[in-house]
């Protein structure tokens, strides 16, 4: 399998034929950490419109998913926290952008469940809050739980540190975050990696996400990896 059909030269090639107006995209990352920065640029350049994007956050004004707000390609965001983004606020308040808040753990579990063939699950998170409005509740063992539907999408865009040509992935530190659950829940999953290696170069026991979830993979050559809150201590 040295000439893996999953391997593409760059983001534009890897996304070719997978983008369409009105589609739902699941994007990995937490803040600016572990975001698929090459694919966000390629999606911007493709001009695809009316996107629904599920992502924990929406980048900042001039980086990450914020770039797709600049071009008004996003119609709706499904997120847990969007406080870092003035453009978001502006478009939301003037009605250009829809927003669905999900508690962070509920968003992660919705994707995990979606990828695992589980259509819904019950959670205590959000019981007695606005998140429960219109949702079914049920008591188990004397406690009230809320039914949440799973989340799937047309396309998952995720980032990993290392991947082999079969799509087996290794993440690095807290850049793993939403990348793993998001990868499992898209009809197609495209991955950008910092290091693309040969099959066999990663110990099978050390793989974080099996390549079965990955349809296309490419090596990104200029990760900017911007830091949102550089915080240091004095020596």
């Amino acid at each position: 399998m040295s000439d893996s059909k999953k391997v593409y030269p760059d983001a534009t090639a890897a996304l070719d034929g997978l983008l369409s107006d009105g589609m739902t995209i699941l994007a990995g990352g937490f803040g600016l950490c572990g975001i698929p920065e090459h694919m966000i640029l390629a999606i911007r350049d493709s001009g695809v419109q009316n996107l629904t994007v599920a992502s924990n956050n929406c980048g900042i004004d001039d980086f990450g998913l914020g770039l797709l707000l600049q071009t008004k390609q996003i119609k709706k965001m499904i997120s847990s926290y969007v406080g870092e983004n003035k453009l978001f606020e502006e478009q939301f308040l003037n009605g250009e952008l829809e927003l669905e808040f999900n508690p962070q753990g509920t968003l992660a579990e919705r994707c995990r469940a979606g990828g695992a063939g589980i259509p819904a699950f019950f959670t205590k998170t959000g019981v007695g809050t606005v998140i429960a409005d219109g949702k079914e509740t049920r008591d188990f063992d004397g406690q009230t739980y809320l039914m949440e539907r799973s989340l799937t999408g047309d396309l998952s865009i995720v980032t990993a540190w290392k991947g082999d040509k079969a799509g087996n992935l290794v993440f690095r530190k807290t850049a793993r975050n939403f990348n793993a659950p998001m990868a499992t829940a898209g009809d197609n999953c495209v991955v950008e990696v910092e290091h693309l290696v040969e099959i066999g170069d990663i110990e099978p026991d050390q793989i974080h996400l099996p390549g079965i979830y990955v349809d296309r993979i490419f090596e990104g050559h200029s990760f900017e990896k911007r830091i949102e809150r550089r915080t240091i201590r004095e020596a």
Binding site: F30, G31, L32, C33, G34, N56, S79, S80, Y81, V82, G83, E84, E89, F92, L93, F101, P103, Q104, G105, T106, L107, A108, E109, C111, R112, T123, K124, T125, G126, V127, G128, T129, V130, I131, W161, F171, R172, K173, T174, A175, R176, N177, F178, N179, A180, P181, H208, K225, R226, I227, E228, R229, R230, T231, I232, R233, A235
Partner: protein, 209 residues
């Protein structure tokens, strides 16, 4: 003299126990970590996918792939472990985290908590707060006793949208420590040189001493 912010954090740190797994909220709760005795082994969870959070990095140690839930750069410890967001919230929701300390806009006498949204202002989102208060075994709120305009924050009923219903176990303010048991609020400790009358005057909630 009521408790200063440092003294509130110091008091909150006394609620930690050896071997605890703890999640600290953004802001003042983060400072509680500074008051843990060296002899005590406490592991901090960061809900973006890490157990065993270390200190902020030196300038030359900064790593874009290593941040906390407040998006600040941090470091790892020998015992650190990383995992994805679904696994992170499975350990939160599953009751495996012993204690969460977080801030609040309002707390009601029955343990209702409001800390994520003020209607009419831009809504930033709840992040992981709803999951934490629903899943962590014990929830401590660390907050000023009154808002900046002097209005009470310990109320009969929250008027802001809730983060969780009946989820708060303990409230530490500059005036004292309160516990909520069986839907009732108890004043357990008064800050030094603080009178019961002062607490009553500055609290809307009904409490038992």
């Amino acid at each position: 003299m009521a408790w200063t912010r440092d003294q509130m954090c110091e008091r909150a740190a006394l609620e930690l126990e050896d071997g605890f797994y703890v999640n600290l909220g953004i802001g003042m709760p983060t400072l509680v970590a500074n008051y843990i005795p060296d002899s005590m082994n406490v592991t901090f969870q960061s809900e973006n996918g890490m157990l065993g959070m270390g200190a902020f990095p030196l300038d030359n140690e900064v790593d874009a792939d290593l941040i906390n839930a407040g998006k600040q750069t941090i470091t790892e410890l020998p015992e650190s472990v990383y995992f994805d967001s679904a696994t992170s919230f499975a350990m939160i929701r599953g009751g495996h985290i012993d204690l969460s300390i977080l801030g609040a806009l309002q707390v009601a006498q029955n343990g209702d908590l409001a800390n994520w949204m003020i209607p009419g202002k831009m809504v930033k989102g709840m992040g992981g707060a709803m999951d934490l208060v629903a899943g962590v075994r014990r929830v401590i709120v660390l907050m000023d006793h009154n808002a900046k305009d002097g209005s009470p924050k310990l109320l009969k009923q929250c008027d802001l949208p809730l983060t969780g219903a009946g989820v708060v176990d303990t409230v530490i303010t500059d005036l004292g420590l309160f516990e909520i048991k069986g839907g009732q609020l108890y004043l357990s400790e008064l800050a030094p040189e603080t009178t019961l009358d002062e607490v009553r005057e500055r609290t809307e909630a009904e409490f038992v001493q």
